[in-house]
Amino acid sequence: MRSVALLGILAASTAAADDRQPDATLGHIFRGPFGSSRLFSMPTADVIGAYIISISGDGSLLQDPGRLTSAAVIAIGFGDLAQLEYRETAAISVTGVDAPVPAAGVQLKLPLPEGAYVPALGVALRVGVARREQFAATSVDESVHDFYAVSRERLGALVLHGGLRISSAHIVLGGDRMFSLQRTLYLPTAGAEIVMNREARLVGEATAAPEFHWRGAMVPGAPEDPTIGYGLLARLGVRWRLFPSVTLDATLGYQLAESPAQGDGPRDVVSAWDIRLGAEVFVPWGALACRAAGAFCD
């Protein structure tokens, strides 16, 4: 049943991808071009395209010493205007770490004609999956549902991105303590790319992200109830297309937490700044299936 549903999803991909020919060589298939649908953590008004899967991940050992903080996105092109995705969306957990919260969703590129000074527009909807942390006998479930509206404008070598993230953030305490809180947040996001050469772009992004506070996570037995606020996550780095189907990401990241207890602002370099490394790999599954089994050919 699951495979039938998957085939239905795949067959529903309406737009044709290039080079889905039975005699295409692997070199030809992986030559691309491939387009990303994100900056670092911020989605853009683009989609990866039909018959393509994008797998992304990044991580840092520096942010929380001794623990890898990581994020990942798996997206599958659904026609030329949409993609389905599973991602760990950005949020700051009760422990103060930029701990991604799992979410599944769809991202759409609005089919508007592009022209000079006419930005591309996209929307994304993500349904969050609760992420559970355990503190002694108390469990904490955090989840975030998002609606994104983003735009993109190309100005020569400079590409500007802007958008608004409307987040519904939930925190639920369980176990020896019962509590539930939901808050809707309107969070601006912005980003910019500078095309430095054929293969590398300098990218900067600043996004506001939901931030969960609960003193009990740091001080066992603290009587305060959890709250939900927002923090700023900013990243500046390079996206380097090592091969057409492989892009490496390296960034300098900054996290400004709303709570004074979780960092001391920009001057707190040892806690609020980190280095993250990641990669995005594009798999043209349609062209590979055509070459291997004659399926999904153009």
């Binding site: 050992l61 520096l62 010493p65 001794g66 430095m196 050469n197 293969e199 590398a200 300098l202 500046l236 780095g237 390079v238 996206r239 380097w240 297309r241 090592l242 091969f243 057409p244 490496l248 390296a250 960034t251 300098l252 001391d264 001057r267 707190d268 370099v269 040892v270 806690s271 700044w273 980190d274 280095i275 490394l277």
Partner: protein
């Protein structure tokens, strides 16, 4: 009649001369093999049938498979000279080219061993992992400082190459160095450094580097929990420092280097500002280019020039390897 004979004999002579040249020579492409069995079946049959044991004459009407000549790879251009990402201890405003590997190992008379390994990313950034011996600690005020090593750090630098935007533009790099947490004598320490540095060639033989650093460090122990950004103890001026360096090429393969940088010093038994301090560090030395891929460096480093304690000076030697092999492999795969 005599004229006819002359013409006829001349024609025969010409044909006799021309006939052997009509067949390709044995060394020429497409020449039939000289030994029986290595030619076509038809040729082999003829040879067997003759009973003479000699090679059969080539049949010019039989297609002999000819391997197409392999495409000749154009010779690779000589790799350009690499501007080093560090003078001796301070960063420069130059970045490694894309996919170029850099490895430096240093040893000093203080027993310090350090290593720095980096890779260039897309001609606009570089990432590295290093162990440094520059972080020092003392147990109580006035005690001898010890190097904390290995002190593992990660480095990320990004920027714009020299003369990339306009002709006289200096190389400009934003760098970030952050350490993993280090446990030493029961105290947990971390350091981090944000830098902005610019580098400029002045003429063909000189380059100057100037930069500013924003430092941070934290120290946690049994009864201690402090940091350089703690405003109850330190001012913002305690975090900001200027650094710089100078390179001179008096000879084509040799450079004279001098730089002034800073390094953190922890004092476990001190109080207030003395718990974490930045010490000025002066280094000078030479770099010799043994080969395109190998440089030797040697010089003197004074860990705390502010104290003018020359007895604390260290003589160091280091070897730096650079490699374009990964770049070439990536280019070939493309």
């Amino acid at each position: 009649m005599k004229r006819v004979l002359i013409v006829t004999s001349a024609s025969v002579t010409l044909v006799a001369i021309a006939a052997p040249r009509a067949q390709p020579g044995p060394e020429e492409p497409g020449a039939p093999a000289a030994t029986a069995g290595s030619g076509s079946d038809l040729d082999s049959g003829s040879a067997a049938g003759s009973g003479s044991g000699s090679a059969a004459p080539a049949n010019p009407y039989v297609d002999v498979p000819v391997e197409p000549p392999k495409p000749v790879k154009p010779p690779r251009m000589r790799d350009p000279r690499i501007n080093m990402p560090e003078v001796l201890t301070t960063p420069t405003g130059w970045l490694l080219p894309a996919a170029v590997l850099y490895s430096r190992t240093a040893l000093d008379t203080g027993g310090g061993l350090s290593s720095d390994n980096r890779v260039g990313l897309g001609d606009v950034a570089e990432f590295g992992i290093a162990t440094t011996d520059r972080v020092r600690a003392r147990a109580v005020p006035g005690a001898q400082t010890d190097q904390i090593e290995p002190y593992v750090t990660a480095t990320f630098r990004m920027g714009v190459a020299e003369s990339r935007l306009f002709p006289q533009q200096p190389g400009l790099v934003l760098g970030f160095v952050k350490s993993f947490e280090r446990n030493h004598d029961g105290f947990m320490t971390r350091i981090a450094e944000l830098t902005v540095v610019q580098s400029k060639h002045i003429g063909a033989r000189t380059a100057i580097h100037l930069g500013a650093a924003f430092w941070d460090a934290s120290l946690k122990g049994a009864t201690t929990d402090t940091s350089l950004h703690d405003r109850a103890t330190h001012t913002i001026g305690d975090q900001i420092r200027a650094f710089g360096g100078l390179e001179v090429h008096p000879l084509p393969r040799s450079e004279i280097l001098i730089d002034l940088g800073w390094s953190p010093e922890f004092c476990y038994g001190c109080a207030g500002r003395d718990q974490i301090q930045l010490r000025p560090q002066l280094s000078w030395g030479v770099r010799y280019e043994v080969a395109d891929w190998m440089h030797l460096e040697s010089g003197v480093r004074i860990p705390d020039i502010g104290a003018a304690n020359l007895l604390d000076a260290q003589i160091f030697g280091q070897v730096t390897f650079t490699s374009w092999a990964l770049r070439h492999a990536v280019d070939d795969l493309k």
